[in-house]
Symmetry: C2
Subunit: 177 residues, 2 copies
Amino acid sequence: MDSSLRARTTKPVGRDGAEPRPADSPAKTSIDFGPLDQRVGYVLRRAQLAVFQDFFSRFEALDIRPAQYSILTVIERNAGLSQTRIADALGIKKTNLVAMIDALEARGLVRREATARDRRAHALSLTADGRLLMRKLHRISADHEQRIVERLGADVYAGLFAPLREIAAMMGDRDEG
Amino acid sequence: MDSSLRARTTKPVGRDGAEPRPADSPAKTSIDFGPLDQRVGYVLRRAQLAVFQDFFSRFEALDIRPAQYSILTVIERNAGLSQTRIADALGIKKTNLVAMIDALEARGLVRREATARDRRAHALSLTADGRLLMRKLHRISADHEQRIVERLGADVYAGLFAPLREIAAMMGDRDEG
DNA sequence: TATTGTTATACTCTATAACTATA
DNA sequence: TATAGTTATAGAGTATAACAATA
């Protein structure tokens, strides 16, 4: 760690929000976001909300939300998992997962079964209806994703994953849902 | 803690969640996320939550949340703005902005002033305390950002903004907060 | 003692309808 | 009529504390 860290091609992050706005861009009609537009967290949030909104509208007819899709996917790929394990994997508190599983079970998509090994735990799995629904959901999800790939171009799209995973990992990464 | 960083090479979007898992990666201990790890929305959400969590913990001592920081920043850079304009800019419903401004005003950070031009509207601005606090917040925000820059490298970092903005723009982009 | 699932609770964020006072 | 701010309300999402059954 020497001073070379400061000498980057990209200019160091501004110390405050005082980057001067060019005189030819009046704030009367267009709003100045100051440093927000140069913060990866802000841009990340805008992008994430936009993607989730599109996701949500595509899943709306099937009455499935993104969180439910992630739960169903993990159960589909890991049948027999306990609620605590699923909660940990998706970064959901087990206490909050209860009602979510309740809803999916009431709709006949998920099954809670007793296990012989640990009689406290529930082994979760998809019902036939659940598996059928997942086929539709995965198809919708892939269509949605394909639209992003086509918009960004395959290379730019593929290049997003590594840095985003690195950002998620460098912080706590206690949440994956 | 978890297996979030399983480095998959990104490949064309699968039609469903049925990409077979290699036989050498048992699901007993590590959880299979299926298509989730290859969905930009999922990775985006994980990254965004991680960044906000770090943000939140840095701002915690000053009792400021990310949404409050974005509101304060916009007011700081655009003094005199109405609540409706701020709400639109940040993608917050004006009805939900009321309580947020109430809290900031009660803490003496923001001022609501009557305007002669339109007696229905409030012109918002920061108080002296508000401006003082913002200096600290911008410094914290810049430190947080610098950590990400150093972790990713300046080029990778800089390359994130364009595709993320494009993703935000290609969908509705009704939310910018 | 520790853990699994659970209830109860609370706070934030988000969303809609309806009101008031202005325009 | 329409708009700015507001109130009331309701639904998700997320957080902690505490409990019964089981390990």
